[in-house]
Every structure is written in C-alpha cells, then in structure tokens.
C-alpha cells in the first residue's frame, strides 16, 4: 500500500516512482475486471492510463479531497471509466456498479478548432508551452515555477507567463482572422 504521496510528484522522477507503485498495486485489479468482461490488454492499459491522468490532475488541483488510498482511488476511477465505456458500447451494464465516489467527467473529443489550437501551441515555441503546462496543467505554484524555469522572482515568472499567453493569443487571433479555414 502507498502510505504517503511524495509531494514532489510534479517532478519527473518522483512522479515516475509514484506511477510505478500504482501500476504494480492497482493495474492487476483493473486488468482482471477488464478481462472478466471480455476486454483486452490494450483496453485495460488505456483505461488505466486515463485513470492515472485523472488521478494526477486531481492531486494537482486538490490533493486533500482524495479520501481513500491512491491505489484504491486509481482502481476506482479505472473501473468506473471501464464500466461507462462498456455501457456506452452496449448499454447493458448495471448502473449499480457505478460508484459515484470515483466518477470523473470524461472529456468530449476536442472540437476541430481546439485541435488546431493545440497544434499551433505545439509548434510555436517549446518554452512557452512548457511554462504554461507547468502552471495550468501541473498546477505548480509561482515559487516552484520560478525555480524550475530559472526566473529571478515570482514576479518575473508571472510576467513571462502572461507574455506567453499574450503571444499565443495573438497568434491564434491572426490565424483566425487571416485563414478562414482555421475556424472550420
């Protein structure tokens, strides 16, 4: 059992360690469930990875709201996702198996416009994207962000973050205004 989450989980090595433990403890449970319902190794892996991503986001946003152990939490989310996918596919799984404590919102497929913006962000300067990801996805504090990206102060990190948003906003806007197909 994972007794305590290393609070540096947003750092690559600590995160790898945490995920490795979760794989060893929770993946077999999820794999057994998926297999018992006719699923494949690939489907079990996909659902388990989605559950780990959801767990990571929950940890980053509000770690205190997780009341069970990390492995129980991840297995719960994965089971719930799997049952929901089965239900969507065949509409026959009992609703009572759905445990509301582990319910997460599954995102819809991104719109074509959002996909284009993702591609633009990925091709327009790694440092800005890394910086924005560290703040808006990993939810590092400005202090952690300054240390990771080598800013002299939290203030200069904040300024740089907003400059990145502004630069990307202007790029998206100019694409929107100059290429009609960008909006399609």
């Amino acid at each position: 059992m994972i007794a305590e989450i290393d609070l540096r989980y947003q750092e690559v090595e600590a995160r790898r360690q945490l995920f490795e433990e979760l794989y060893e403890q929770a993946f077999p449970v999820v794999a057994r469930l998926v297999r018992s319902m006719g699923g494949t190794y690939e489907q079990a892996s996909d659902v388990f990875q989605d559950a780990l991503v959801a767990f990571y986001e929950k940890l980053a946003a509000d770690s205190l709201s997780i009341s069970t152990s990390p492995e129980q939490y991840v297995a719960g989310i994965a089971k719930n996702l799997w049952l929901r996918r089965c239900r969507d596919a065949q509409n026959s799984v009992s609703l009572s198996q759905d445990q509301s404590a582990f319910r997460i919102r599954e995102e819809k497929t991104p719109s074509p416009l959002l996909k284009k913006i993702m591609r633009l962000l990925e091709s327009s300067g790694q440092r800005c994207l890394d910086l924005l990801q560290a703040f808006y996805f990993d939810q590092l504090s400005m202090r952690e962000l300054s240390a990771r990206f080598g800013f002299k102060s939290e203030r200069s990190a904040t300024v740089q973050k907003f400059k990145c948003v502004e630069k990307l906003r202007n790029e998206v806007k100019s694409k929107m205004l100059s290429h009609e197909d960008f909006l399609e």
């Binding site: 794999a31 057994r32 990571y56 993702m118 907003f162 948003v165 502004e166 806007k173």
Partner: protein, 88 residues
C-alpha cells in the same frame, strides 16, 4: 497584460460573484475583448489537453519499461496470466 490577467482571474474562478457579473457585462459591449477572452479560454483548454496527451505518452513509456524490465518479472507474469487466451 491587464486584460489577460483579468480574463485569467475569471477563468480560474478567482473573481467574486459581483466581479464576474461586471466582467461579463463588460464583454457584452466589447466584441474585441470578448474575442480575446474566448481565445484565451481556448488556449487554457488546449494547454490542459496537451498536458494530458504528454502525460499519457509518459505513462505508455513507463508501462512498456515495466513490462520488459527483468526486475519486474513477477508483475509481468501476473498481467500475462490475466490475459492468457484460455481464460474467459
């Protein structure tokens, strides 16, 4: 910069209810500001989706290494056993 900061406070839920109403009213009469706000919101969504995509790729790599690391044989056998063809 202030426009971006203000939109961020709205998007991250840092504004009070009256501040939100005031901000929404301001956007109603400012089409250019409303477009900027909309794009900023899309950028934040895109960054989160990219974060998920990158994390999932990281997990895929980790799973591949766990399934091939000689030190993790017990784990590998456990998973292989679950997915053996002759099992239901």
């Amino acid at each position: 910069m202030n426009e971006i900061r203000e939109a961020e406070r709205y998007l991250l839920g840092e504004k009070t209810a009256p501040e939100r109403l005031l901000y929404e009213a301001k956007l109603l009469v400012d089409p250019s500001g409303a477009l900027n706000f909309h794009i900023q919101k899309l950028i934040y969504q895109a960054v989160r989706l990219i974060g998920r995509k990158r994390l999932k790729a990281e997990l895929n790599t980790l799973q591949c290494s766990l399934m091939s690391d000689p030190a993790k044989q017990a784990f590998q056998q456990q998973i292989e056993e679950i997915f053996r063809e002759d099992k239901p």
